[in-house]
Symmetry: C2
Subunit: 231 residues, 2 copies
């Protein structure tokens, strides 16, 4: 967590968020008006936060990771615009899965990368497939968000198929589940073997580019210094 995030929590009179995230910050909830909600209720949660702010409260809407990366920030602006809300909205950035998972794997994001969510709940599957194809073909390191859920299991198989068209089966792949939490699980494997590993709702998969290599339990994408300088 950043100092800016904790300052915002301290300065808020109301704190609203998905239950699981609020349970991670009990020390900030004391003496606050706390509204905890269940998963998949993003629209209601966003509206509730705006309503409370419009009533004159200073409201912290808590997001996991970075609210600005695949998270609540955009929805709140959309709701504010459509609902004619006038309250001031400030986005406080945080560490997204790409930041924390990359750090736990070593240094996979030293070069150009793409982030792609495999969730087709809000995005047509053909758009997702086109982006996977583009990222694979142009040798982007690729961070896969929402790789697999109980019901949605085919997308990660399609992802592997697409990347195998362009990259060596030995391409290094990192899988981080529950990054920085108690039950964190870090795996470094290959494009060929990635589907043998545990990949779930809380996992982020990072597929290396053609230069990414493994050094022990570390995944490194070279920036290119060794081509130019003697290391």
């Amino acid at each position: 967590m950043t100092y800016a995030a904790t300052t915002a929590l301290k300065n808020s009179s109301s704190i609203i968020g998905y239950k699981t995230y609020l349970e991670l910050i009990p020390e900030f909830l004391k003496g606050k008006n706390v509204v905890s909600s269940s998963m998949m209720k993003e629209v209601e949660r966003g509206k509730k936060a705006l309503d409370m702010a419009e009533d004159g409260n200073t409201v912290a809407l808590v997001s996991g990771g970075d609210p600005g990366i695949y998270a609540m920030a955009g929805l709140v602006f959309e709701l504010a615009q459509k609902g004619g809300y006038l309250c001031r909205i400030e986005i406080i950035p945080g560490l997204a899965a790409i930041n924390s998972c990359a750090a736990r794997l070593g240094a996979p994001l030293m070069h150009d990368f793409a982030a792609i969510s495999l969730s087709d709940l809000l995005t047509p599957m053909e758009v997702i497939l086109r982006r996977l194809e583009a990222a694979a073909s142009a040798d982007f390191v690729t961070a896969i968000y929402n790789p697999r859920s109980k019901k949605r299991t085919r997308q990660i198989v399609q992802t592997q198929e697409i990347f195998l068209k362009y990259r060596n089966p030995e391409t290094v792949v990192g899988i981080v589940t529950n990054a920085t939490r108690e039950n964190e699980n870090i795996i470094i494997t290959s494009l060929a073997n990635m589907l043998d590993e545990e990949i779930g709702m809380q996992s982020t998969v990072i597929i290396g580019n053609s230069q990414t290599y493994r050094w022990g339990d570390i995944m490194v994408t070279p920036r290119g210094y060794s081509d130019k300088y003697s290391l």
Copy 2:
């Protein structure tokens, strides 16, 4: 800054970094063995940090943004491997330009995105152009790192040309210079007009996807909720 980063600084006996970044954290330097170095000396700086750690010191190598995104983390692992260093290396993630610039612009990174550096110092220009083409054609929101320097001015023009092949000239573009610093400058413009604005070494350019829109001084890429839910 995160609590983890300040804890690491407090627990270090030696702090090493690029002069400009160390000047931002004077309160952490007192009583420490401080090694400040000039720009473009990344290899020397990384080796120095490893040498000091190998001698038994706890060393903090300070990076701007997130050390794991286009920064020093990878080089340190490469140097450690090639030099046979045995010291323990921990990467502490931070807020990268994509995190902080997105937050200052509103919510441009709500959907799949690519990050591409235009610096051809360590990367062949044909690789960069191929990635720009892929990101533009597959409708990725695209964050451009190192968009322009005094000597390197052509790449951002080529970037605009490539994106204009695939996207509307009215596509929303955000430019953030010196994010969160005193002389911060935030501009929201269009793909057609982006080159009229100040873009320099300290700027990050975020090119919206086909759905990104402007709401006053806010740049928003919708996640897709409005297609599924009534907002």
